[in-house]
Symmetry: C2
Subunit: 338 residues, 2 copies
């Protein structure tokens, strides 16, 4: 890696682009000195947003891209035909080694397709998993796969466990991360066909610290550092996390507002509650990386404001600084037989 | 159905048996006049608990069963060999028509096995699903299957939709319940192989009001009245509901206790919050019924105290009073071709 880490940012991706994306870039530059950003999008729109801020022009390069991939477009077609879209241009910047990583809040489908067909996989990696951190009572847990590969095979889940372990080791500084497989009971004989077939393979993988089955209920309590499952299940876990959390918060707010007494109570408890709820913000660790590609690709929520964009850029910086992709590559060069 | 509804209750099932089970029965008798209970278990233990209460002896019959199926026992073996266990005796009471329904907080595995091999399925039902209600922002939603059948087939998911619709129609008084399938996106072309294959079948089922895909995130917001999915996914949804809810509550309690100011705030807001949180109590609608058997079989949480036992008994009473099984039977006699 170069002295300076260079991150490609899709200025046109997401519901709040380009305003919040540009704001997030400025925030990231302020927080991380050794960082450069290639801001890719419709140049005059991007520059109009940039003009609102004071920044070191040597640290932001604006790269013009005339097209935008919309959220609803069929992904494969979009990536193939919109060669001059901001997302595809970002992908090529990473592929050609001009940037170390990319961040987008745009179409997930196009992101997944572009990652695989433009940037490409690390040799030996069958299917790159989408791997967000989810908050737990005492930290965080890496959940993979969360949506990249439906109908996964056991060998792929084993790869997810290895890739996830390499990532968590450096990103969280946990030497021997505990790897669990999502299951509907704690016993080894429980589970569907995929889990039953994968379980013994994980047990026989020396590079990981496999602790067995993890029930969904125990994930928020921090039962494992790395949790593997097929994409359909991972997506359900992530979305339930979001749905239950926000629904519960909505009800609590209504309860707080229901009487004068409870309103005063809310005011008094607010600072303490705010601090706690921040722990459960799924955006605080950045977006969801697609791990196992030749470069780091991070997808943040389509509704991202500046904070998750900024966090995702900082996440890429950490990833590049610590050369995490090298660890993943090494893992697959040693045992490419799985 | 008889004038009086007779419910078999497994007095020895669950972590708090027989004390809380017996207490729950007494509470149910107080709330529902037209109810009789057959309390099955080790007679002297059951009578010792019963002696703590005043009740009409004509409404509780104690039936001795000398054995108890433990939580960790292999279910098939347990059901086959422990013929005089409280759970197996309850199953036979339903099978022989002596009771209309049964409630147990005991082993889920033995409950599922016993339901299928002792009580038996309604003609035409391939696989009875486990179908708990989960709370939503403005009501509740029936989730099936939640753990009875791993690796389900599309035709089974269609049956779940029909059975669930019949149940919700009467249990919730919703004429035309909205049926959704759990998916990882709202579009029809999204999903894994099972969902893609099931989607058109659901669309072509005239007996149900199919509204399409439902993302896990939208379930707590009440996106559908009946939600179908394979057991592995349903179990993950149910457990995430529980896990995220309780973890969040634990953190909030700690936040409330973190300073004098927040403690006072908590005291003031407590009544309003308590009312809200009660809405999210997964036990308030009773346990999870195994639908599509010849009689209603309800499983409550192994850690159940008296309230969920009582609610489950009342749930069975409603089910029997409204003759819901007849509706399910009719649905399958009309179109047994699916």
């Amino acid at each position: 890696m170069a002295d300076k880490v260079n991150i490609a940012v899709d200025a046109m991706g997401g519901d709040n682009a380009p305003a919040e994306v540009v704001k997030g870039c400025i925030e990231a530059l302020e927080q991380a000195p050794g960082l450069k950003i290639s801001l890719v999008g419709i140049e005059d729109k991007v520059r109009a947003e940039l003009s609102k801020y004071t920044y070191d022009p040597d640290r932001i390069e604006v790269i013009h891209a005339s097209e935008v991939i919309e959220m609803a477009e069929p992904p494969v077609m979009a990536v193939r035909t919109k060669k001059d879209s901001s997302l595809v241009r970002c992908m090529y910047l990473v592929k050609e080694g001009k940037c170390d990583a990319l961040v987008t809040a745009g179409s997930t489908g196009a992101f997944l397709v572009g990652g695989q067909i433009i940037v490409g996989r690390i040799k030996g990696v069958e299917r790159p998993p989408l791997a967000p951190f989810i908050p737990t009572l005492n930290g965080r847990c890496l959940l993979l796969d969360c949506g990249a590969n439906v109908d996964a095979r056991p060998s792929q889940l084993v790869q997810f466990a290895k890739i996830g372990s390499a990532y968590v080791r450096k990103a969280c500084g946990i030497d021997n991360p505990r790897v669990g497989i999502v299951n509907i009971g704690a016993e080894e004989e429980k589970g569907n066909a995929l889990v039953k077939e994968t379980f013994p393979l994980l047990k026989a993988t020396p590079e990981i610290n496999f602790i067995g089955s993890v029930e969904a209920r125990d994930i928020p309590y921090g039962a494992a550092d790395v949790v593997v499952c097929e994409a359909f299940v991972g997506n359900v876990i992530l979305k339930m996390y979001e749905g239950v959390g926000t629904a519960l918060m909505k009800s609590m707010k209504e309860a707080f507002m229901s009487s004068t007494k409870s309103k005063i109570g809310a005011l008094l408890a607010k600072p303490a509650l705010k601090k706690t709820l921040k722990q459960y913000d799924t955006n605080r660790y950045g977006g969801a990386p697609l791990l196992g590609c030749n470069g780091l690709l991070v997808k943040t929520h389509g509704s991202s404001k500046s904070a998750p964009i900024c966090n995702s850029i900082l996440q890429c910086k950490l990833f590049a600084d610590q050369n995490i992709n090298n660890d993943i590559k090494e893992m697959f060069s040693i045992s490419s037989d799985i």
